[in-house]
């Protein structure tokens, strides 16, 4: 098991993967078209935005931090990308990601230089980015250019798979390599495990935190680009609640909010679990037996989240309760 996150992370990922498979099995048995190519593709296409945001959040949470600004950041970046999309795909992409990076940079500076708690720091940038999104859009959806190939980023296919899903997949592979195979990734876990000790060990704490927040902002920006490309417009108010969805996915994936333990793969499973659950609720509505409003769906998802997190916590406790052994 060389190179895997700690045992606790593994325990956590079993839980979420099992839950994901059970939910898919349930959907497959109950609904006719649940595993139809169309449905699978659209679930992947839609949830890739959340996957990108959750990936950044996963790293931030592993440092025992939090980033509340990702939702507002994605909204703002979608507006910026929509404006820039008229110059082409690359300018649109660069502008959106760049806007996200700026927010991430701000977060990093506030947390590492001004020593403000991440919760407060990113709450402030969340408000600022949210306001900026409305300013830049005049409180309107900003249509993207259909003359350029920009919308391909959200609506296109490559090798028969949705482009956004491929982008997310690449991001997760890179994230997993960074976490498991680079010292920067291990330093992220070390900071969350014991920041002071990490400093004492001579590892670059501030620099790593800085890069983590910048990357998280950049990924939110990328999600914003895909949002604009997928729906054909920059959406100044769309990102609301994304940060909570991302935190929920990360936690469901067994990453501890207390930092130091985490898994990129399990975070992806967490995103998919919540996404598939949402789809099931839609299918259930489609069957006509019950008619759940969006509000009720939200309530049910919250309840389900609680159940999964309780299940994770039980697993983690069971592991922690094992007696410590001295092997001298």
């Amino acid at each position: 098991m060389i190179g895997m996150a700690g045992n606790r992370g593994l325990m956590g990922s079993y839980g979420v993967v099992v839950a994901l498979m059970l939910v898919i099995l349930f959907g497959w048995l109950r609904y006719d078209n649940f595993l139809s190519p169309f449905n699978v593709m659209s679930v992947l296409r839609y949830n890739s935005m959340f996957a990108l945001v959750a990936l950044g959040m996963c790293f931030v949470i592993m440092t025992e931090g939090i980033d509340l600004s990702v939702g507002a950041n994605a909204a703002m970046s979608s507006v910026v990308a929509a404006h820039a999309s008229h110059y082409g795909l690359v300018p649109g992409l660069a502008a959106g990601v760049g806007a996200g990076l700026v927010v991430g940079l701000l977060n990093g500076l506030i947390v590492t230089r001004l020593k403000i708690m991440p919760f407060i720091a990113t709450l402030a940038t969340m408000l600022a980015a949210g306001g900026m999104a409305l300013l830049l859009s005049g409180n309107q959806s900003i249509p993207v250019s259909y003359a350029t190939s920009f919308t391909w980023l959200g609506q296109g296919n490559l090798f028969g798979l949705p482009v956004p899903a491929l982008i997310a997949a690449v991001a997760y592979v890179i994230g997993s390599v960074i976490l498991n195979r680079t010292s920067a990734g291990r330093t992220v876990l070390a900071i969350g495990g014991n920041e002071e000790a990490t400093r004492m060990m001579g590892l670059p704490v501030e620099r790593t935190l800085m890069v983590t927040y910048i990357a998280c902002g950049g990924l939110a920006g990328l999600a914003g680009v895909i949002l604009a490309a997928q729906f054909g417009a920059g959406q100044p108010i769309e990102g609301k609640g994304w940060e909570l969805f991302a935190i929920a996915s990360v936690v469901v994936g067994g990453t501890l909010l207390t930092g130091g333990v985490g898994s990129v793969g399990a975070t992806l499973a967490g995103v998919l679990l919540l996404g598939v659950l949402f789809t099931i609720l839609n299918f259930e509505n489609g069957k006509g037996w019950i008619s759940l409003s969006a509000y009720w769906q939200s309530v049910i998802r919250g309840f389900f989240l609680l159940v999964v997190v309780l299940f994770q916590a039980r697993l983690a406790r069971k592991h922690a309760a094992q007696p410590a052994v001295s092997a001298t």
Partner: protein, 511 residues
């Protein structure tokens, strides 16, 4: 010594605000030498180490390492320059694997990525030096404290250090584990690596160290070969007591010990808890001041915490007021009538931003509240009373406690416990960090309390405070009660002798 020293520190100074931490400290360490660095709390050892390892800059002075002027701005730089440090508190990351804890900071890479197989082999190779073979891919938190300490040492050695600083590395090790550590230290010495070894356990120093530097009040008092200095000499140099010292009182304690001493209120036999408390016995009577003497790490505070329910003993018996006593929590001890003024005011005592009144009433709150509502008037009356009787200098009960001087803060804490009308008061270093005038006032106060019939257990590292203040003194040494001195026998020489040799009178514990 014919070869030039590996490390030489000259005339090092450091101030923190108004307080002088280092006032011309010196140390010289030869290559391949195990060098003991000793001194009381506040002698400046940790400040010196922090400057050497790049945590804080020095104000003035000269450091030469490997023949060149040396100055580092960060722990990374010190590590890179060949100075590794093992701290007393294990400074590793519990959630990471053993491999990572050993290798992070000098990872083995292959094609830019971490080479887990290589790092694992490296971790296993280093641990093999300690005859340890463990599953290095498991998280650190799976292992015992002693194993973790060994892992910390393996990490330090892995940095191919020229100098390894060990700050009380044995404080969490048992004797067998410490013996393994000493073998490792000797192995390092044979490889030409120098070690600075900080410890309060005298026997260890004599077992493993070649030379010693003794610090006091931020200055280097003496440096010599271990063989040239006896234990008694070492302890008295460290504490700054001349062995043949003429009389003359230096504390405000009444000299005649005329408290009306009553029946035994607290007694303990065969107390045992981990490595710090191995076999401690003592007793306190009503109206008596009992002193706990001993070097740092002798187990005094740990014993007090057992009595106060802040830790539970592994063995032994405590009797309070004639009955068996096994407090599970501090609340149990408080309800039984025991107060505990802790050693570290700032961490365990005061709540800096709360008022004097609130700080004083914290422990009493459960008793003052009726159905959860505090009786403000009664509270104010009690606070006013203690401010007057303890002579707390303040603007009023509403003043924030952090605005008070150390001495007045200590009086507020005394008031906190006295307000509970305790029958036994434990004072841990009651006058540490307090100016001379306030010190005398607090000593007088303790005396008066004992005259009024309160039983006092006083832990103090200041010899004169124990020898002049206490009616009876128990000397602790490495977790054992090694001497009990009563009124006529109490003097600094006897206390020093017991601290150094474990003598005084034969102890049951050493049978």
């Amino acid at each position: 010594m014919t070869q030039p020293p590996l490390l030489r520190i000259d005339n090092l100074h450091k101030r923190f605000g108004g307080t002088v931490a280092l006032d011309g400290a010196e140390i010289e360490v030869a290559p391949g030498e195990v060098h003991a660095l000793v001194g009381q709390n506040g002698a400046g050892k940790s400040t010196l180490i922090k400057i050497l390892t790049g945590f804080i800059p020095g104000d003035d002075g000269e450091i030469t390492f490997e023949g060149a002027p040396f100055s580092v701005g960060s722990p990374q730089a010190a590590q890179a320059a060949g100075i590794s440090t093992i701290y007393q508190e294990i400074n590793l990351v519990p959630t990471l694997s053993v491999t990572e804890n050993i290798c992070l900071g000098r990872e083995i890479r292959r094609r830019g990525l971490l080479d887990w197989r290589g790092m694992r082999a490296e971790a296993e190779r280093l641990l093999a030096k300690f005859n340890m073979s463990i599953d290095v891919s498991r998280p650190l938190s799976d292992f015992s404290t002693a194993t973790q300490q060994m892992i910390a040492i393996a990490r330090a050695i892995g940095f191919s250090a020229r100098l390894v600083i060990m700050d009380e590395p044995t404080s969490s090790l048992d004797e067998r584990e410490a013996a393994v550590l000493f073998d490792v230290i000797r192995g390092l010495r044979d490889e030409g690596v120098s070690v600075i070894f900080v410890s309060h356990k005298l026997d260890e120093l004599y077992e493993v160290c070649d030379r010693v530097t003794i610090m006091r009040d931020g200055r280097t008092i003496r440096a010599c070969a271990m063989a040239e200095i006896g234990k008694l000499d070492l302890v008295s140099t460290m504490l700054g007591r001349e062995i043949s010292r003429s009389g003359g009182r230096t504390t405000a304690f009444a000299g005649d010990h005329d408290h009306d001493v009553g029946d035994t209120i607290l007694s303990a036999e065969g107390l045992k808890d981990g490595a710090h408390v191995r076999d401690v016995h003592f007793s306190v009577r009503k109206g008596e001041i009992v002193g706990f003497a001993g070097l740092l790490g002798a187990g005094r505070t740990e014993t007090a915490k057992l009595v106060f329910g802040a830790a539970r003993p592994e063995g032994g018996e405590i009797r309070f007021d004639g009955a068996g006593f096994a407090p599970q929590t501090p609340a149990d001890a408080i309800n039984a009538g025991i107060g505990f003024c802790t050693e570290d005011r700032k961490v365990e005592g005061i709540v800096p931003d709360m008022s004097i009144a609130e700080n004083m009433m914290l422990a009493l709150m459960p008793k003052l509240a009726r159905a959860g509502i505090l009786d403000e008037k009664r509270q104010a009356r009690i606070v006013e009373k203690f401010i007057a009787s303890l002579g707390i200098k303040c603007a009023g009960p509403g003043q924030k406690i952090r605005e008070l001087s150390g001495g007045n803060q200590q009086k507020v804490l005394l008031g906190r416990w006295l307000a509970m009308s305790p029958r036994l008061l434990i004072l841990d270093e009651p006058t540490r960090g307090i100016d001379v005038g306030a010190k005398a006032e607090i000593q007088k106060l303790v005396n008066t309390l004992a005259d009024d019939g309160l039983a006092v257990l006083m832990i103090s590292s200041e010899l004169e405070e124990v020898s002049e203040g206490a009616d009876r003194v128990f000397v602790l040494r490495e977790g054992l009660t090694v001497a009990e001195l009563t009124n006529g026998e109490i003097n600094e020489e006897r206390i020093l002798a017991a601290m150094a040799h474990g003598g005084g009178e034969p102890s049951v514990a050493e049978a």
